[in-house]
Point group: C2
DNA sequence: TGTCCAAATGAGTATCATTCTCAATTCGAC
DNA sequence: GTCGAATTGAGAATGATACTCATTTGGACA
């Protein structure tokens, strides 16, 4: 993640992002995009500490909420209750073991081309979705069969 | 606890349910099915208090976890962090406003007939899924347009 | 450049759902 | 009835997130 040539805000920066985000929000989004995987609020706070873009924990959570409200970031909750954040542009979901908690990323989003009926939307402007699968992983299946 | 001859457990009781659940777990599941909508752990504890099926909060959460591990119950987390539980047999999902939090139940599950590729499952035994949509409700759209 | 106000910030504190601890109780087998 | 194992629940601990409020920042304006 180190760096992309000093260009703080990436090239794929959208007009939306430019017009609506302040510097700290952009840094959070950059961090999430660069990480390549989900991060918790605490993770983000820890990663930015010491860098020129460090910010307080309260600010991290405040901006994560706003990024969600703009549809740029989505979060899911682990069974532990911890919330993990990811950019919505990365349309990834997971398969999680209800027993040991092991998590497996899915390569494609099964909702990719499924459309919600406009009548179901009831006027809502759709921003993003969360989709998670739960099951029992192979090793937990074995443990259950022969304990 | 009181009696079981009296058939407190409903007629739709499946073999799975009979063989794997104890009395308290069945009462929790019955309560969730009877409610017709999602309930939090606190809700369940409050509803059962005073009835012959009352149980401690710790027990409620313990059994909710086990019901999830058996694939009989699923939960989703509100932005507030509160977890809401529902029976997996009720395949319902929601559309939630990221601004005011208003929630709209969807009538049908868009994943209903979408199948996950076996190769994606990597040996997992699939139990259930969670799917939630997020957007901006009509009244919050208005407020944003003309503040 | 100096003054002003509104918005943004963050250290510390509060909240609150969930989990943990462990002594007491219940269950089941003999 | 007795004994060990499993279940239970009251209360305390945990931990992520939200809140408070005094301070800082930033830009408009003179
Ligand atoms: Zn597992
Ligand atoms: Zn998706
Ligand atoms: Zn709204
Ligand atoms: Zn569904």
């Amino acid at each position: 993640m180190a760096s992309k040539a000093a260009v703080p805000l990436s090239q794929n920066e959208s007009p939306l992002k430019q017009s609506l985000l302040n510097a700290k929000q952009s840094h959070l989004l950059d961090q999430l995009q660069a990480a390549g995987h989900e991060l918790s609020g605490q993770d983000l706070h820890a990663r930015l500490r010491g860098t020129p873009h460090g910010m307080g924990l309260a600010t991290v959570y405040r901006h994560l909420r706003q990024l969600q409200q703009r549809g740029l970031v989505r979060c899911r909750h682990l069974p532990s209750g911890e919330a993990l954040y990811a950019p919505t542009e990365r349309d990834e979901h997971h398969l999680t073991c209800v027993d040991c908690g092991r998590t497996l990323p899915l390569r494609v989003c099964p909702m990719h081309d499924v459309q919600l009926q406009p009548q179901q939307l009831d006027g809502f402007q759709l921003l993003f979705h969360t989709l998670e699968f739960f099951g029992i992983c192979p090793s937990c299946q074995d443990r259950q069969d022969a304990p």
